[in-house]
């Protein structure tokens, strides 16, 4: 345990920021290039996790537990979001027999 703790001493905060930005951007790209609604939701989870990790990193950096509590709330929220989101997807699939986001173009003039 001590060993591991020692290991992280050497990582600069900047590197956490860069790493989380990359993960976040991958999530964004995933949303942009996929048409499957489920994959899009998974990309959103990816983005949420990137933010979670950054929050935890800042929390450790500042020695403040609030950041980690916040991550905990984000996870609770993500669980709720996924439950409702997947339920909606199922409903949509029942009606359109498709999970293609392009078929959901009713939001138009």
């Amino acid at each position: 345990m001590e060993n591991i703790v020692q290991n992280i001493q050497g990582v600069p905060l900047n590197h956490y920021i860069i790493f989380c930005s990359i993960i976040f951007a991958i999530g964004v790209i995933g949303v942009l290039i996929r048409r499957n609604v489920i994959i899009i939701m998974m990309s959103i989870e990816l983005m949420l996790n990137a933010v979670n990790l950054l929050l935890a990193a800042f929390s450790a950096y500042r020695g403040d537990a609030s950041g980690q509590v916040f991550v905990f709330f984000v996870m609770a929220l993500a669980a709720a979001e996924v439950a409702v989101g997947l339920a909606i997807i199922i409903m949509v699939y029942r009606n359109t027999k498709s999970v293609d986001i392009e078929t959901l173009s009713k939001l138009r003039w």
Partner: protein, 165 residues
């Protein structure tokens, strides 16, 4: 230190695999791996509670939920709708731009390049539990209501239509 860079590389690699794999089931599995690497990151930060929660909730519950839905809808590689290449390139470029601007923005605000010193106390279940039930008691209780509401909503939405009660 090297552990961090190794795990970061793995995380980025599996994240990319997640969004580029055509088969949705594979996507979910890659995402599970990505989350596992993130769990390792939490451990590296000495945030033990978060690591456990991430492992159980995300990898255990949420991703299984995804898998269930995929299986329920019987989606596989053949039925996967794909966007045209042009849109893909556009999306990739937009994402790269986002990274570039994000990093540019961080560079502009010039954070002091200090080392992250893992705090041995903060991430432990004992400390976190105290904070959670003292300072954040009300949000904690409200989040329980949120979860309950989400559960009711999900059941209501996913239930088959009972034709004209």
């Amino acid at each position: 230190m090297t552990v961090f860079y190794l795990v970061a590389f793995l995380a980025i690699f599996f994240a990319l695999m997640t969004i580029f794999t055509k088969n949705p089931v594979h996507s979910v599995l890659y995402l599970v791996i990505t989350f596992f690497t993130l769990t390792i990151h939490y451990i590296l930060l000495n945030a033990q509670f978060l690591a456990v929660v991430n492992f159980i909730v995300y990898m255990g519950a949420i991703m299984v939920l995804f898998l269930f839905v995929l299986m329920l809808l019987n989606l596989n590689k053949e039925s996967e709708p794909m966007k045209s290449n042009f849109v893909k390139i556009m999306g990739a470029i937009a994402g790269m731009c986002l990274i570039a601007t994000l990093l540019g923005a961080f560079r502009v605000i010039e954070p002091n390049n200090q080392m992250v010193v893992g705090n041995e106390e903060v991430g432990l279940v004992k400390n976190l539990g105290k904070v959670l039930f003292k300072e954040f008691l009300l949000p904690f209780e409200i989040s329980s209501i949120l979860l309950l509401t989400a559960m009711v909503g999900a059941v209501l939405l996913a239930k088959k239509d009972v034709k004209k009660v």
